[in-house]
């Protein structure tokens, strides 16, 4: 055991010597990005890459960015991160939940390299986490969806039944219900983040079941295309603006805006002030953006939606404010009470009124 530790340490020391030498030779700050999808996915990975390019634009010659796309979660991710660290990266953004344990493993071997992991919960001295409060955007989306539906059936393409996605469904449902008490949610689990064929199928199934508004928590534009083909169906851009489907079917969107955060973190590494933190920002700080609400939406609905957005941004209103009950009818939040971050981060229940079970 002792021998094994020693050998590992020796290998790491060797690696550090190699990278340390490289770091001295180069003045530039090197920033790596590990992507789970292709940068052309038009959604999640695309927006991270927009953030990367913003970093390049902001710092010009002082920074060098590298990225690897389509990296499977697991040992492949670990290898790619190690490779970036060996090649002298000072800061590495790992942009998928499944990169959590690999990030922690690699960070242990490279104590001088900083890591930023998106949407996870494990941190270390040199690993910080960041995520966006997408559920704030879902509230605005739910309101518009509730107003726009005529069949009173809203379709929802879920990716995986994880807290992140469940939060979004709950938030959208609560705010749709507020403006339209007859509204009903139909949820299809696609079990993928990015698979245009599966997403298109899911959208078609929902449309056949009578849904005339479709919300998606998957990253491709396939549901938008399916809605466009079907005719009178409304959709929302996910992660990216997906403006090519505006003004209809896409009537608004939730945009992940990572650029300000990425620039800030790179700056902190340059200045030597970087610290491991857990960031969870929403509409207020600008990490979550609401894309243009098109003219397909009546003016008064648009106004209502923007008012809700402003109230959330200013902190005046929390999307999870009581009275709220869980699906099984038990009490969750009392009148005026707001949900705490701990409950939100581990959310594994639907609120009252949503039909169907969370797959286990």
């Amino acid at each position: 055991m002792l021998k094994r530790t020693f050998l590992t340490t020796a290998a790491v020391a060797l690696a550090m010597a190699a990278t340390g030498g490289a770091a001295l030779a180069q003045e530039k700050t090197k920033v790596g990005f590990v992507y789970v999808g292709p940068i052309g996915d038009g959604g999640w990975t695309h927006e991270h890459d927009v953030g990367r390019r913003a970093v390049e634009e902001e710092f010009g010659d002082k920074v060098e960015t590298v990225y690897v796309e389509n990296v499977p979660e697991g040992p492949d991710a670990e290898r790619v991160m190690t490779q970036m660290a060996l090649d002298g990266a000072d800061l590495i953004f790992t942009t998928s939940f499944g990169y959590m344990d690999p990030t922690i493993n690699v960070a242990k071997k490279f104590p001088d390299v900083k890591f930023e992991h998106a949407t996870g919960y494990k941190t270390a001295e040199n690993v910080g986490t960041y995520s966006a409060r997408f559920y704030e955007g879902r509230a605005v989306q739910g309101l518009i969806a509730g107003e726009m539906t005529e069949s009173n059936i809203i379709g929802y393409i879920g990716s995986y039944p994880i807290p992140e996605v469940i939060r979004g469904i709950n938030s959208a449902y609560i705010h749709a219900k507020k403006v339209n008490p007859d509204v009903e949610f139909k949820i299809v689990w696609a079990f993928t983040w990015f698979d245009p064929a599966k997403e298109a199928d899911a959208a078609k199934v929902l449309i056949e079941q009578g849904a005339d508004v479709i919300l998606q928590h998957t990253d491709s534009t396939a549901p938008q295309a399916a809605a466009e083909a079907a005719g009178n169906v409304y959709t929302f851009g996910q992660a990216s603006d997906m403006a090519e489907f505006a003004p209809k079917p896409r009537i608004s969107s939730i945009i992940d805006n990572w650029a300000p955060y990425y620039i800030e973190q790179v700056k902190a590494v340059m200045d030597g002030t970087w610290k491991s933190e857990q960031t969870w920002d929403g509409i207020g700080p600008g990490m979550v953006g609401i894309g243009e609400i098109t003219d397909a939406v009546p003016a008064e609905v648009k106004e209502e939606a923007l008012a809700l957005k402003d109230r959330i941004a200013s902190g005046e209103y929390h999307p999870f404010t009581g009275p709220l009950k869980k699906q099984d009818g038990s009490d969750w939040l009392a009148e005026g009470e707001t949900a705490d971050d701990g409950t939100l981060l581990g959310m594994n229940f639907f609120v009252e009124g949503i039909e169907g079970e969370i797959p286990q």
Binding site: K3, R4, L7, T8, A11, L14, A15, A18, G32, P38, I39, V66, Y67, V68, E69, N70, V71, P72, E73, G74, P75, D76, E78, R79, V80, T82, Q83, M84, L86, D87, F97, G98, D101, N105, Y121, Y160, P161, I162, P163, F191, L345, G346, M347, N348, P359, Q360
Partner: protein, 360 residues
């Protein structure tokens, strides 16, 4: 005028020269592809093929090569036995998943007990899991004459759903804050498939892969069963006269393929991957089909082909990160390898003739 003439006997020289010719053609046309993308082709090819083996950080990549190649070799060896006999198991990916689930399930059932027998038990469960999953197409074929290609392939998607269900339900880490994924077996000493010698990449899966190469070689060349397998593939009628029972052969070949794929999955989940997660499988089961054919269905050929395939993965990632090549270009490059192999393969069975001859 050029024409192809069928050889009386497949050319032995071409059978061995084909993979080399395919690799050379891939390098040539891959280089042109990279040049068309505005990269220096020599640097790109060097980054993919040379740097992981002899570059500055080769001390890290060489062990990774074994880690990446081991599951490919293990699965491909199993598949090659069936392929030789004309039994087409396309569902190794599913057998890989089920093997991993069985192995990890076995480990997690004992958690947190520490005991020497847990790991051997996991090996047995992993092999058994893959074996049983492969028995479904095998028995259906033997009993009802179903097509094993379709059944085994379809079962991959069933296995993927099973994997998602396990990551979200039965095998979910109770301390994971509701997020999908099991406990990390790397942190459970009795179940951890650790490196046998630190820094070498040699884990039990690599050792097994080497052992199976030898086993398959002996089986095919020295054992009556191996003779039957070869005979069935080359002359099915003669095989029946020689007393081969087709049903028994189907059971053996699919079962062996399943067991080895299951083993590969188990070693992966207990070692490099560490945990059962929704996206645990990354296509080894499908890539292994390429490896099997690239290696001419010969054990030693498969060993080399597995290492070569692993090299293109690892080198491809370095090329993405260092040269900014898109992932799709790397995939095209890998696809070329199989394409050229099949194209050049014509010369094994046909002879190129110039001038007019007797109409074929």
């Amino acid at each position: 005028m050029l024409r192809l003439e069928k050889r009386r006997q497949p050319s032995r020289i071409w059978a061995w020269a084909t993979p080399l010719a395919a690799v050379l053609a891939t390098i040539l046309f891959g280089g042109l592809l990279f040049m068309a993308l505005g990269k220096d082709p020599v640097v790109a090819i060097r980054t993919i093929f040379y740097d992981p083996l002899f570059g500055q950080h080769a001390f890290f990549y060489r062990p990774q090569l074994l880690v990446k190649a081991a599951p490919l070799i293990l699965i491909a060896i199993g598949l090659s036995l069936g392929f030789r006999a004309g039994i087409w198991n396309i569902g190794a990916e599913g057998q890989y998943i089920v093997g991993a689930l069985a192995g990890a399930g076995c480990a997690l059932a004992f958690y947190p007990m520490e005991a020497w027998f847990i790991f051997p038990l996991m090996i047995l469960s992993g092999a058994l899991g893959g074996f049983l999953w492969a028995m479904i197409p095998a028995l259906l074929k033997v009993r009802f004459g179903t097509n094993e290609i379709l059944v085994s392939l379809m079962l991959v998607y069933v296995a993927e759903q099973l994997l998602a269900s396990m990551s979200l339900g039965l095998l979910k880490n109770p301390e994971g804050f509701g997020f999908p994924g099991s406990r990390n077996l790397q942190q459970y000493e009795s179940a951890h498939n650790a490196e046998l010698i630190a820094g070498t990449g040699m884990h039990w899966g690599v050792a097994f892969a080497f052992i199976m190469v030898i086993f398959a070689y002996v089986l095919l060349n020295r054992h009556i069963l191996g003779y039957h397998i070869r005979l069935t593939g080359e002359a099915p009628r003669a095989a029946r006269f020689a007393g081969v029972v087709p049903a028994r052969l189907v059971i053996f070949c699919l079962g062996m393929g399943g067991a080895l794929a299951g083993l590969a999955g188990m070693f992966e989940v207990a070692g490099p991957a560490g945990q059962v997660s929704i996206d645990f499988n990354v296509g080894y089961g499908f890539t292994a089909i390429i490896v099997a054919f690239l290696g001419r269905l010969h054990p030693v050929g498969i060993l080399l082909a597995g290492l070569l395939m692993a090299l293109t993965y690892i080198g491809g990632e370095i090329a993405q990160s260092n040269l900014g090549l898109p992932a799709a270009a790397i995939q095209v490059f890998q696809g070329m390898l199989l394409f050229f192999l099949l194209a050049v393969d014509v010369f094994t069975n046909y002879r190129l003739r110039f001038g007019r001859g007797v109409a074929a």
